[in-house]
Structures are given as structure tokens and as C-alpha cells.
Assembly symmetry: C2
């Protein structure tokens, strides 16, 4: 199960705006893509999809071993095919990609 | 260490825009607030601060046991004081709160 650790992983957060009717479809479609193309990719750690309570947004919290592993995955064969299918899923669900940013986990506070 | 699990926790994602010079100050200030006021609060699980690579954004990925636990914490005594101090930290760092949204973890994919 994904664990958040300080300065250990390269984190990518992607946000979509979606028609609430298709929020679950968007999650299913993108999840299938990750299971098919990225799950066993070297350096891929985890990808967690979050559904907003109002149905209008989806956030993917993705963890990679390093920035290099993440960028290499984009250069891998099949990238164009993956992107085309992603675009189709996003269009079909009336969704829009709002943000794609990368982060370093700076600080973790826990109730322990 | 924070773990992401499907449908188990109530997740709150807060995003700030910040002057890169003060990104670390913002993280330190808000982290201190959480350690002082929320760390031992009933239902608080974890709070992880993420620093964007370009220095311009900070994201807090916070996990609570339930939505109820999260809203109760806002009604707890000291709330006004906490909010005032938060505002002071945010202003001092030239930061702006962009988003505060709550999410359900819908799907987790892992490389296992």
C-alpha cells in the first residue's frame, strides 16, 4: 500500500475537472491505462485516484522512485498510443486536465 | 507513516501559491501549527507537506478518520486562534490559498 515518506519519492499530482456523471468512468478509464501500461514499469511505485465529494474533480497522486524513472516512462515505446487513449478517455468523460505538477515530500506529521 | 487505502480515510488536499523564497518558511510555519494544534486531535491521521520543484507551490495531503472528525476539529476550542496564526504565516510568506477540497480514495494501483 502506498506510503508517504519524506524526501524518498518523486510525487506527481494530476488534477482533472469532470462532469460528475462521468467521474467514476474517468477513474475507471485512467486506472485501466495505468494497470496496462505503467504498473510494471521500472520505477513506478503507486498511483492513487481520489474522487472529490462534489463529483467534479479527480486527483491522481502518483509516486515514482525518481524523476528520471518518471521521465523515462514518457519516452518509452507506446507513449503516443497511451497519450491518444488517455485523450479519448478524457474527452469521452467531458473532462479537462487542470494541472500536472511534480513534488518532493518535504514534511510528514503523524498521529502516533 | 501515512498509507493510502481505498475508501478508508477522508482526505483533504490544500494548495498554496507561494513566493519561492518563502516556500520552506511556509512549510515550517504550517507544520508547526499542525504539530501544536492537530497532531493529537481525535481522528487526525496524518498531514504531509509537498514542495513543488519550481518552488511556487505547496500541497498538504491530510488524512482524517472521517469527515466528521475533520469538521469537529474546526469547531474545537482555539479554532479562531489557529486560523489567525495560519493567516499570519500565509501573509508573511506572501502566499495565497488556492484550493481546499476533500476527497475519497477511489482506487489504488501499486507496483507489487
Amino acid at each position: 500500500m502506498p506510503k508517504i515518506e519524506e524526501n524518498q519519492l518523486f510525487t506527481v499530482i494530476i488534477e482533472w475537472e469532470v462532469n460528475p456523471k462521468y467521474q467514476q468512468d474517468l477513474i475507471n478509464g485512467l486506472t485501466n491505462q495505468i494497470e496496462t501500461y505503467f504498473k510494471d514499469y521500472d520505477g513506478f511505485i503507486s498511483s492513487s485516484f481520489h474522487a472529490s465529494e462534489d463529483g467534479k474533480r479527480v486527483i491522481n497522486y502518483a509516486q515514482w522512485l525518481s524523476e528520471e524513472a518518471w521521465s523515462n516512462s514518457f519516452q518509452a515505446s507506446g507513449r503516443d498510443e497511451v497519450q491518444t487513449t488517455n485523450d479519448e478517455i478524457i474527452n469521452r468523460c467531458g473532462a479537462k486536465t487542470l494541472k500536472l505538477n511534480s513534488y518532493r515530500v518535504a514534511r510528514v506529521i503523524e498521529n502516533i
